[in-house]
């Protein structure tokens, strides 16, 4: 049995000859269909306006508007929903058949037609109708998918923009530009400062591009911001992100990333680069001064025990800029298939003032891509290494000072040589003590104090680095290299922090911080004897290159003891006056 035989159709028949109309109606009814019969085109249009038939059958010759005109009208009025149509005439005239087919007839039938022929022709129309239904269903499904996908993309974009770029890219030292190969970028740039005003910049490039690559880079932002806020170094941050990516993403997904720390006060930068082209240090005249070329694995490729957090440090001039970029930039090809390359990039920057570089690079990208989206995501960050005066970090709560606290605690942390190599001591200590009542508003200042104490204890106490190393143009480079070398070799020794809270009498409480190292110390007695009269704290500190005025600005008292390997400071949990 033919499939369509089971289906009962509603058929509108237009024929001005009552005998023909009677015969066709009889045959169609006999075939199991329902029939409405009219004798003019106008009546047919009225009928269609009320209810769409499943099939329209019309004679060509009709009084007034003929059957072919009728078909055209029906086509024009029902453009959204197709009514299959069948034209019948008594003539076998080819021109008429052509006109009918051109007007949109789906089948043509000569009168008189046998019931079998009628059935066969309707079969053709039914097959067309079935195909049309299928197509419509698919279209509806596609439209549904499309709107679903658009909604999901809208949501994804919303979340991604907040997760990735946040407000942190408002950092005055960083200008940036990202061009995406697809709607979503697999590249991201993030920037934030530690409590000690060290600028951290991250440029990450997830494998592939589009939404999938964009998802790849998600695990990197949260640790970057959280750990920077707490003052961890970029090596620790890179290590943490590596573990996250390794745990979260499949083996073929990884992230090329460059992490940079800019220490404005000491005027040096450190770079950790895994899988991105090395950053460029650019002089004020646009000439490339240095190309950082150490390549680690991209993040997420190796397990934690194989991870290498070695950073490169380099002293910079405040007039220099650092340029970070993803490989999409240097892989751009000209029409001859020649890639831009690092050399091409250097040539493009040469002679360019700092503020003209990013615009020039976007221009180059535009020229090389002809304005269409690039083949790979491209991201560029241009960092000004300008020295900015370091503000004393603000107290971050309105409800200070805490006049009285029931807190009664003492916190001791001792780190031996192995842990000193691996851990960031200051965020560790700060993370613990800021849990105590009244401490958190002062986290920024305490970070500075703890950093100074710790750096002095480690650099001078344990590593025995003389401050004189820092002197001269290459001094800081020498110092940093020597520091890295000695730290790697450190086998003995420890740094110990002890912190406790002293209640003041009606005064805000005071934090007593002591930091001691197991180094041989220095002869502070001798220093004091040599100094004429009562030495100021500043003299002592300067004399040994052991401190900075900032420490004195935020602490009530700074005192050396033992053989000079122990420092005690008092830090009042109150906005310092004067």
């Amino acid at each position: 049995m033919l499939e369509h035989e089971a289906e009962s159709l509603f058929i509108l028949v237009v024929d001005d000859n009552p005998d023909d109309l009677y015969l066709i109606r009889r045959d169609l009814l006999a075939l199991g269909h329902r029939v409405a019969g009219v004798s003019t085109a106008v009546e047919a249009l009225d009928h269609i306006a009320q209810a769409y038939p499943d099939v329209l059958m019309t004679d060509v010759g009709l009084p007034g508007m003929d059957g072919i005109e009728l078909l055209k009208m029906v086509r024009a009025r029902t453009d959204r929903s197709w009514i299959p149509s069948l034209v019948f005439t008594g003539s076998l005239d080819e021109a008429t058949q052509m006109r009918a087919l051109e007007a949109g007839a789906d089948a043509y039938l000569c009168k008189p037609a046998s019931r079998e022929m009628l059935h066969a022709k309707l079969g053709v129309i039914l097959r067309l109708k079935a195909m049309q239904r299928q197509a419509e269903a698919r279209n509806r499904e596609l439209a549904r998918y499309r709107s679903l996908q658009e909604e999901e993309q809208r949501l994804a974009r919303f979340v991604m923009e907040r997760l990735i770029n946040r407000e942190a890219l408002g950092d005055p030292a960083v200008s940036h530009w990202i061009a995406s190969a697809a709607e979503f970028s697999g590249d991201l740039i993030a920037a934030a400062r530690t409590p000690g005003n060290v600028l951290h910049v991250l440029l990450a490039d997830g494998a592939g591009h589009g939404l999938a690559a964009s998802l790849n880079v998600l695990p990197v932002t949260a640790p970057f911001y959280r750990m920077t806020e707490r003052g961890f170094g970029i090596d620790a941050i890179a290590r943490e992100i590596n573990s996250k990516v390794r745990a979260l993403l499949p083996v073929d997904r990884f992230i090329a990333a460059t992490l940079v720390a800019v220490n404005f006060r000491e005027r040096y930068i450190t770079v950790w680069n895994g899988g991105n082209p090395g950053p460029l240090l650019v002089r004020p005249d646009g000439c490339v001064r240095l190309h950082f070329n150490r390549h680690h694995f991209p993040l997420g490729v190796v397990d934690d025990d194989e991870f290498d957090g070695t950073v490169d440090s380099h002293v910079v001039s405040p007039h220099d800029h650092l340029l970070l970029f993803s490989d999409g930039l240097i892989e751009l090809e000209d029409t001859a298939g020649q890639a831009l390359g690092v050399d091409g990039l250097g040539a493009a920057l040469n002679g360019l003032r700092a503020d003209l570089r990013l615009p020039r690079l976007t221009e180059i990208v535009h020229d090389l891509t002809g304005g269409s989206p690039p083949r790979d995501d491209i991201s560029i960050a241009h960092i000004a290494l300008t020295d900015t005066p370091q503000p004393v970090p603000a107290v971050t709560s309105s409800d200070f000072p805490v006049a009285r606290t029931a807190s009664d605690w003492r916190f001791v942390l001792r780190l031996g040589a192995a842990d000193l190599k691996r851990l960031d001591a200051v965020p560790l200590v700060l993370g613990a003590i800021e849990q105590f009542e009244g401490v958190r508003p002062f986290a920024g200042r305490l970070f500075l104090v703890l950093s100074e104490l710790f750096n002095n204890a480690l650099d001078h106490g344990l590593l025995r680095l003389p401050s004189s190393l820092k002197v001269g143009a290459e001094g800081m480079d020498v110092f940093l290299d020597e520091r890295a070398r000695r730290l790697a070799r450190l086998e003995m020794g420890a740094v110990e922090f002890e912190l406790s809270l002293r209640q003041g009498d009606g005064q805000p409480p005071v934090l007593h911080i002591s930091c001691a190292d197991t180094g041989p110390g220095f002869d502070h007695e001798e220093q004091i004897r040599c100094a004429a009269g009562e030495p100021s704290r500043e003299d002592i500190l300067k004399g040994h290159g052991r401190g900075i005025p900032l420490l004195l600005r935020v602490c009530e008292e700074v005192r050396y003891s033992g053989v000079g390997n122990r420092v005690d400071v008092l830090f009042r949990l109150a906005e310092k006056t004067g």
Binding site: H209, V251, F254, G274, G275, H295, H296, F297, E331
Partner: protein, 101 residues
Amino acid sequence: MDTSVSTQQSQARIQLSGRFDFNSHREFRDAVDRALGSPGTTEVAVDLGNVAYLDSSALGMLLMLRDKAKSSGKTVCLANAKGSVRQVLDIANFGKLFPIV
């Protein structure tokens, strides 16, 4: 990208040519399955000599191959990488993950 797999003694060689990028995913996976599936091989060499371009997705596929090979006790090496292809491998420090011959 075009792939072909040949076996010589204990080494299966995957020869790639053209652009090795995210569009080559299926071809490469098929080639990997054939190479790792051929009996008696202990090493898979990926010949990059005729690869004109290689992107980060391709690096991901190489990591996938390394993973699969490791779990079936086989080793992977990369052969004939030169020019920009070699550069991309170097930037990602892949020389430490694969012998590059």
